[in-house]
Subunit: 638 residues, 2 copies
């Protein structure tokens, strides 16, 4: 935290709470440019922002109200958005390049209509977003609740949320931005020529929620997933319209859902992250405070290639009183290639379809040398296109893709884009013949320090948080409740997600973890699984220096720690209780599972399940000790 | 033609045939920058073009050869491409802004790989493309030939062209840019994260070809179309793999195909026009000569908002010796919002999935006034986004969308884009309260003169040519053979395609029309069907001054002329013979059908079908005469 407190932009930020503007320039009130409830406020905000630019304003004030935002009058911008879907976007708050600037919503709610990126900030310096909420008038997903189950007919009936514009296309359940708008697209195979048909989807990617817990249903994700094609029966699922907004799905899943369960489907998984709510790119100093995102088609907030991002009381929450069961259809927050400090304080993230946060950098694939000092590289993930991998002066490591082990550190002289997929990096050093086949490259400089404190991540699909940075990371006094997989995950891979970053100093303390692993039945609270291939040097470890202490874990999951290629893990003074709400996982299974780990210390913990916990250490492990615990069998491997 | 001959850029173009460069600058040889057969030549061409720009070169020479072009090293450009699909494109020959410049291919063949726009020219002046061919290594469509038909099982077996990378996804037949690459997308619903999975499709939009004629099969388009869902049987079609590249389709169409027929499917109709071969935008003076396009995912050549475009011996042809049955998956040429002269001379267009040419402008929808002189307008067609509707000094007419009748002419002062869909036009005149509800606007200035001479359009889906311009149009000595609908179409609508342009001076003479209407069984050789709603002023006509004379028509189609809202039509000295190859349409039907037409003269024609031709004139017609013909009943309506 020290570095954050020293940054200059915090002082004016604090001052602004006392009514003084952020940067000293004039304050612009959007109401003076046509903002009013009940209208399309996109033109008014666009006009007010033009005035802000022209006058060098320090603050745009939105008087408290509920404001609709339509894409019609919004600016176009082609956006590469890391881990979301690129494209030509309509942007309402186009904040690019603004410095020492603040948007103060005064408690306003912005209601977006159809695809857009309401907040886009590229190349800003000292930007502050505060005191507003963002929602969409209708969700981009399909939601339906099971109102009847017929085991004999292998079918269930589902009442679809009135907000969703759906129709049947033969056996298929499709939905769109406009009720009845998709028929022509299907039957006559006509293109969506008209301006009112913008998107449509049918049942692909989906998940069940439990209305009692408002969390993902406790079930097997694969057998209960609704499919268009039933693999076991080798025939298509059939959807029929029962009238009154209710449909019957027959042969749609291997295991029928329970009555009351709520299905959420986003349709095709990609492209589907088309409208994240807030996109921050290439910024220095961004503060988001007292803000809530209720929905987004994609991530609620994504920051890339930026420095010093502080989120305080930034929340991702279901709209109050709404029957919706999902907020953002991807992560609540996501940070790619950032540096400096990332701070999340007092934030609550609920009911997302992906993680609470994921902080990582990107592995680029090394294609070939382009000169004695130069390498041609590409970005392997379709959602990393256009990502800025490195900047002059930064350290980049060449790394074996198979083992993920860095073997050479180089200093960037310059980076030239060939296109959004390919770029050429010229280093200050000659590479010589040292380039190994099957190499990737990782950026060693853009490794932020992170503080996540007093936050709550709950009822989301996927993980609590993912950390991949060699900076100092503190995860303290948070609550991670009812997610579908691990509480805290340390990953790293160069073959699919291409997410890089070796943890070097992580402390997880004083947190509550409760009932993670809802769709697997057994997920580690701490999961360290870099995709390090077999046959790597046993004396090298991908992640290091991880302290997990003083946490409380109330879980149905037997496995507490699963770790691969990590050294110096301390699991100390934690209390682990059996879940109160879900059946416990197989108690015969080990609670600690290590694969190629060194120097693990498990001590001072209280494990309060009926069956004591055990430790399993696979090949390549050494110096693993469990002793001085209650309810954990002693274990020692030298 | 006079205006064309006077334009300055023709003289150097002719000189260049004698080895003198086009603009006086140096000549760059791409071989000096790494061009060589067997390699990816995109980087070499990019480098050579950089040198051309730097040195002010007048000509880029490609020594005769076959050159592969891959997208990997190509530049990115976000392209709005009229009547094709917009998006971030990889462009190889990125010619934007070049003046007095020529690309001379010396007879070379460029073989493109995967989606790209090989030739993109925006804002050029005096550009010449000559002496090369463009093809793709594998087609974007799926092609298969019927090798067996089982009436009892309502199925047919189809052998798929080896060039197509297909697989089964349950009952569905899918194809992709890489064999076997789509399984994960389907089964695990994973996004196409990896760089080698770029696109995939399944059986939507499709058409049958007849291998004997190499033309579209003579059949009913709707009943023979292959469907994923069988509407009549209310169940899905089923595709099964018979091995050896053969699949069986059951319940896939209402009427089974014949053995030998060839199916071509492009998958979803939109987005599917992603890779036109040549895109020209905002250029003045473009000459394309001795050039052939063999395939394109979209149009072979599309020019928009440009002036003076000459195509000589520009062809769209099947690759020699190839089993492929389709060239471009859309039009051979298409001109939107152009002015000056458009010339097509000695061109052959075959086996496209859309028209030989379509020359039109765009109706913009008037949304609301934005001031006494200003109107906010939008572009109603999804493939017109970003189109530049008008420029300062141009004449724009306000028009009733329902009747298509212009009611007020205004002069453009300036146009400001709100985004690619919406723009604000400020006129020199005040509009006052004269704006009628339900209005569109059309550009009266961008109405090119057109010469289409010595061309052949054959074996394509859709029409021969579409003409919508008030300029002088001459269609002379061409051959229009075996298309699926009308030979020459004059259209206009403000509700779906939004194509504008009143014909004012059209002469069609000395052409051969043969067997148009293959999938309808009866299509007019001259089809004039502007979508003028009922109740329009009967004294006003959308198209005017159409002379159709001295043509030969060998056709199975009974209807020769279908016309709506047109005046001054002369159908003179034409010879009409029955088709030699196809069954004749119902001879009892009228050959001339008029709806709200005035001043029609049918004289001096020889109609050589067994049954004489008759004229039908509906309500709102006047001054229609047929006399002095052989084989056409005399007709007179005053």
């Amino acid at each position: 935290m020290k570095r954050v407190i020293k940054t200059a932009f915090l002082l004016p930020a604090m001052l602004c709470l006392c009514g003084v503007s952020y940067g000293g320039g004039p304050v612009v009130n959007a109401a003076d440019y046509g903002l009013r409830e009940g209208a399309d406020n996109t033109p008014a905000i666009r006009k007010a922002l033009e005035v802000c630019r022209r006058t060098g304003a320090s603050k745009l004030v939105i008087p408290c109200g509920t404001y609709d935002l339509y894409p019609d009058g919004a600016a176009d911008k082609y956006c590469n958005i890391a881990n979301n879907d690129d494209g030509m976007k309509r942007v309402v708050f186009l904040l690019d390049g603004l410095e020492d600037f603040e948007v103060d919503g005064d408690g306003s709610l912005f209601v977006c209509h159809d695809h857009m990126v309401p907040f886009e900030a590229e190349g800003c310096r000292n930007l502050r977003l505060s005191n507003f909420s963002v929602d969409w008038a209708s969700p981009f997903y399909l939601q339906g609740q099971v109102v009847g189950v017929d085991e004999a007919a292998n079918s269930f009936d589902m009442e679809i949320l009135d907000e969703c514009s759906w129709e049947l296309q033969g056996r298929r359940l499709a939905w769109s931005n406009k009720r009845g708008a998709t028929t022509d697209n299907w039957y006559f195979m006509a293109p969506p020529m008209q301006k009112d048909v913008v998107w449509y989807q049918d049942l692909y990617w989906n998940i069940w929620y439990d209305p009692e817990t408002k969390a993902p249903a406790y079930c097997d994700e694969l057998t209960t997933r609704v499919m268009g094609w039933n693999f076991a029966l080798d025939r298509p699922a059939v959807v029929s319209d029962l009238g009154g907004g209710t449909v019957r799905l027959t042969d749609a899943c291997d295991e029928l859902p329970r009555e009351g369960w709520i299905l959420v489907s986003i349709g095709l998984r990609s492209p589907n992250r088309l409208s994240p709510a807030i996109h921050i790119a290439g910024c220095e100093g961004v503060e988001v405070e007292n803000m809530t995102v209720h929905h987004a088609a994609g991530m609620a907030l994504v920051a890339e290639s930026s420095e010093n991002i502080i989120l305080r009381n930034y929340n991702v929450l279901l709209p109050e009183g709404s029957p919706r069961i999902v907020t953002a259809t991807a992560d609540a927050t996501h940070f790619v290639g950032c540096k400096g400090d990332i701070v999340l304080e007092g934030c609550t993230f609920e009911n997302m379809l992906d993680d609470g946060t994921n902080i990582h950098n990107v592995y680029a694939e090394v294609e070939r040398p382009a000169g004695p000092n130069s390498l041609v590289m590409t970005l392997g993930h379709s959602q990393h296109q256009g990502f800025r991998f490195a900047f002059p002066g930064e350290q980049v490591a060449l790394t074996e893709a198979r083992t993920l082990r860095p073997y050479r550190t180089l200093t960037v002289d310059r980076v030239e884009a060939v296109n959004s997929h390919t770029f050429e990096v010229t280093f200050r050093e000659e590479i010589g013949d040292g380039l190994r086949p099957g190499s990737v490259a990782e950026n060693l400089t853009r490794q932020p320090d992170v503080v996540i404190r007093d936050c709550e991540v709950r009822r989301n699909r996927a993980r609590g948080i993912l950390i991949s940075t060699s900076g100092k990371v503190l995860v303290e006094n948070n609550r991670f409740l009812k997610c579908t997989y691990a509480g805290i995950m340390l990953s790293g891979d160069a073959n699919y997600w291409f997410e890089s970053g070796h943890v070097g100093d992580l402390t997880v303390r004083g947190n509550l973890f409760e009932d993670q692993g809802l769709v697997t039945g057994n997920a580690p609270v701490l999961c360290i699984i870099p995709e390090v291939g077999e046959g790597s040097d046993p004396s090298w470890f991908y992640h290091r220096n991880i302290v997990f202490e003083g946490n409380t874990v109330n879980s149905f999951s037997r496995v507490l720690v699963e770790a691969r290629s990590a050294e110096n893990i301390t699991f100390r003074n934690n209390v682990v209780n059996p879940s109160a709400g879900y059946p416990l996982a197989d108690p015969a299974a080990p609670a600690f599972i290590f694969d190629r780990c060194r120097n693990v210390d498990i001590g001072g913990n209280s494990y309060n399940w009926p069956a004591p916990a055990t430790v399993h250490a696979g090949p390549g492990c050494s110096a693993i000790t469990a002793s001085g615990n209650a309810g954990i069998d002693d274990f020692r491997l030298d």
